[in-house]
Each structure stands twice: as structure tokens, then as C-alpha cells.
């Protein structure tokens, strides 16, 4: 591992939480260190796999929330 960066910095890097200067330095480092590059690529592949799952609430749930808001508004105006 590079002396200037830790594994935790790599995690911040793959989740785009590093500062621009840090990102630049990390990119330079992994372009020269195959082991670090492999690790980053492996983590990114896992991220891509996780991207494959998304779920949505039903329209009924949205309607129930909007109805609740409407009822609250009516209660407030009648008071």
C-alpha cells in the first residue's frame, strides 16, 4: 500500500468522496501500482453488481401519504 494513502482512502475514492487533489494523486498511484489498480477494479465490479437492484414503492403508498397530508391540512384549516 502507498505510504500516503490507506485502504480507507481507496474506499472514499471509489465512492467519489475524495477531494479533487486526492483523487488525482490516487489515480497517479494506481496507474503505477497494479495491485492497487486490481483492488479498485474489483471494488468497482462489486459496485456494478450492487447497482443491479432497485425497488419502488407502490403508487398506493404515495397516495396514502398525500391523503394524510390533505387530511392534516383540512384539520388545520377547520381549527
Amino acid at each position: 500500500m502507498n505510504q500516503d494513502f490507506t485502504q480507507l482512502d481507496l474506499i472514499r475514492f471509489i465512492y467519489n468522496e475524495t477531494l479533487p487533489q486526492e483523487s488525482k494523486a490516487i489515480r497517479e498511484w494506481i496507474s503505477k501500482d497494479w495491485e492497487a489498480l486490481d483492488l479498485v477494479n474489483e471494488y468497482k465490479r462489486i459496485q456494478d453488481t450492487l447497482d443491479g437492484f432497485h425497488a419502488q414503492p407502490s403508487p398506493t403508498s404515495i397516495r396514502i401519504i398525500m391523503e394524510h397530508n390533505h387530511n392534516m391540512e383540512e384539520m388545520e384549516t377547520s381549527c
Binding site: 462489486i46 419502488q56 414503492p57 403508498s61 388545520e76
Partner: protein
């Protein structure tokens, strides 16, 4: 004005001024992230729907009572509410999240998706199974960070605040989660 995205803060202002459609826009903007996170925590579609509704009912009530303070961003605040509701649920039922429903039915199969044909559905099922196996294999604390970072899109700083740990602990948990998922992929030869 064309193409300009209204910020969450502006929508909240609109809603506080009585514009209901601003609330609907806010819900629709964040519903997928919030619902996916709740669902991955509780692994029960119907329960996830209930917690999603309860979350936004709390959001509505808090805003309407004028108790919402713009200390941070809207999404982390809502995620904190939904996360607490998930934890409350597990405390009440004194159990950890389950894999299937009580009758052993795989709830992943009833989730609604917009597949146009059987091939799409098959690919989606395989992809979901893969993700499910990976996420479910993790210890609870690591799973929590993966869900909050990856699906809810919260920063490690925000996750640290919600889960009451340091940023380095949150980062460390994510690191172990990635290592564990990588191991599982190698051991079980899950193709990615």
C-alpha cells in the same frame, strides 16, 4: 427556467407555503433510494411499504408543525427517520431481518418491475439473486453501511452520524463488506 432543477430546499419551502405538489415531487424524487434501502433492511415488501408510508407521514407531520430545521440535507434526514423505524420494528419483534416471508415465499419475486419480456425478467431475477446473496451474507453492521452508502447514496459522514459511529468506523465497515463480498464471489463463483 427550462431544464432547471428545483432543489429540495426550494421544494420544501413551496410545501411549507401550502403547495402539495411540491411534496409529491420530493417523494417521487427520493422514493426509489428510500424504498430500496428500507426493503433491503427488512426484506419484506409489505412491511417495507408500511415503513415507507410511516416515514413520510412523520416527515409531513414534522414539516407541517414547523419542527423541521434545515440543518442538513433533506434525504439524510428522511433516511434517518426510515432507518430508526426499521430498527424500532426489529426491536419490537425482537428478531433480525428475515430472508423470506413466514410461508417461505420469496418476496423478491413479487416486486414490480417494468420488464418487457421473459428474458428481461430472467436476467433481472438472476441479478437480484446475486445482489441478495451478497448483501445477505454480510454481518448486520456491514450490511447497514452498504445499504446506506450504495442504495441511499448517503456520504460516509452522514452514515457515521446516523449510525452513531466515527467516519473511519463507517469506512472500515464498508471495506470489510467489500472484502467479504469479494470472498463470497470467489468462493461461490458468482459471476460479476
Amino acid at each position: 427556467m427550462q431544464g432547471q432543477i428545483i432543489s429540495d430546499k426550494e421544494l420544501l419551502c413551496e410545501f411549507q407555503n401550502g403547495n402539495e405538489s411540491a411534496l409529491e415531487l420530493l417523494i417521487n424524487r427520493h422514493k426509489e433510494k428510500i424504498f430500496t434501502s428500507i426493503y433491503l433492511f427488512v426484506r419484506d415488501h409489505y412491511l417495507a411499504e408500511d415503513i415507507f408510508q410511516d416515514t413520510f407521514i412523520k416527515v409531513v407531520d414534522t414539516i407541517r408543525k414547523g419542527k423541521y430545521k434545515e440543518e442538513g440535507k433533506f434525504l439524510p434526514w428522511v433516511m434517518r427517520i426510515s432507518h430508526n423505524l426499521c430498527i424500532d420494528h426489529f426491536r419490537k419483534t425482537k428478531r433480525t431481518p428475515k430472508v423470506t416471508t413466514s410461508d417461505g415465499f420469496d418476496i423478491f419475486k413479487v416486486l414490480k418491475f417494468s420488464d418487457t419480456n421473459a428474458e428481461d425478467a430472467l436476467i433481472r431475477d438472476q441479478s437480484h439473486n446475486k445482489v441478495r446473496r451478497l448483501v445477505e451474507s454480510l454481518p448486520q453492521e456491514q450490511k447497514e453501511v452498504v445499504i446506506l452508502r450504495h442504495y441511499a447514496n448517503l456520504s460516509f459522514k452522514e452514515i457515521a452520524r446516523i449510525t452513531d459511529v466515527s467516519i473511519n468506523t463507517a469506512l472500515g465497515r464498508m471495506r470489510y463488506a467489500l472484502i467479504n463480498m469479494r470472498k463470497l464471489i470467489e468462493e461461490k463463483q458468482i459471476s460479476i
